[in-house]
Symmetry: C2
Subunit: 236 residues, 2 copies
Amino acid sequence: MMTDYPTTPLNRVKRNPKRAVYDRAQIHGILDAAMLCHVAYVIDEQPFCTPTIHWREGETLYWHGSSASRALRAQAEGLRVCLTVTHLDGLVLARSAFNHSCNFRSAMIFGTAELVREPEEKAQALMAITDRLLPGRNAELRAMTSQEIKATSVVRMEIEAASAKVRAVNVGDDDEDGSHPVWAGVIPVQTVIGTPAPSPALMPGISLPAHLAPFAVGRRLDDALLETQAIYDLQK
Amino acid sequence: MMTDYPTTPLNRVKRNPKRAVYDRAQIHGILDAAMLCHVAYVIDEQPFCTPTIHWREGETLYWHGSSASRALRAQAEGLRVCLTVTHLDGLVLARSAFNHSCNFRSAMIFGTAELVREPEEKAQALMAITDRLLPGRNAELRAMTSQEIKATSVVRMEIEAASAKVRAVNVGDDDEDGSHPVWAGVIPVQTVIGTPAPSPALMPGISLPAHLAPFAVGRRLDDALLETQAIYDLQK
């Protein structure tokens, strides 16, 4: 498999090409480190931007929702979409307003969404979302019912074109601004895991299961999600 | 001013209407608690989903970028957009795969983007982005040059329709699943501020300025951004 996604007029990064990434593994990593993406699509000439949980199998992205969802019903018939994942990593404070920036990792994926119609593929995809985010959990859950499967739609998109942009450096002030007497630098931000809050109706004697070990309190969520993706990939 | 945004076919939340929010103040709060949004728009029938920094003045949303940006040039001429902000607040783990969910706050805003052409409004908008995110900082910065203003485009969108969805409760298992022996509950996540990393070229003797007090180490970023918005609103 080629290392880079080919650049086309669709995915070529025009602004700040030094921040552009086409490397397949790095783009997959940006996708896999996030639980939520935003999907842009068009219904009746109106663009929509919908947040949703995504997951990835090789060069295929999946998302799901209620079978009654207007978005999923529109996407079922083969709808052009753009799926974007963004991690905010820091506020970049310069000596000039102009050189202020963010540190971030974002991946923008283009393709055509379509409904997963084949029952076996759909059942596998619905297992995969839990296996990928919470490997080991499916085996402990109450099994899915046919009614639940029917109530859920799964959408699939082959990655047709992809690019990412990454800024992960300290501030880039103009040289002549270096003597301007104001603090400059990066204020990092990260998304971290808090203390689990058990269901108020939890049966007595049930503690946190081993399969939640990747979600240790205080850990970065992106690191936890990369670990569960790696566990999932190993188990396939 | 009316408390709620009117519901129309565009913004009415059809799935899980119990999670729907039309309250103006609550939707503004979701927008103001975030630095980044995703904007969906269409160029040549292809939808795009672009992350960008946004800011708000009353019922107007702004974003900005390079004057050479293809997205901003397309949006300049009056382009339909959907701007969405999403905060992920937790993973919701149920006894069944079907009842797994996320805790989140998302706001979806519809309108038409247009370029800010009037020089005075553009200069004010470019001051506002720093005043809103980092109140007090503009006064300490090296002033913007006319070349920097020229190199930057600012886009404005009146909020035409808006809705939000919020899930902020513990797990909603089916009653009959309560006796299934697996841990259930919420794993909260939050985006927090880390230790500032000064520019390697920082002049000796310059410490963190008072205007960065809202960005205390360990604090939630959404809380910090709501505080800076409140400071900004007070100073206007």
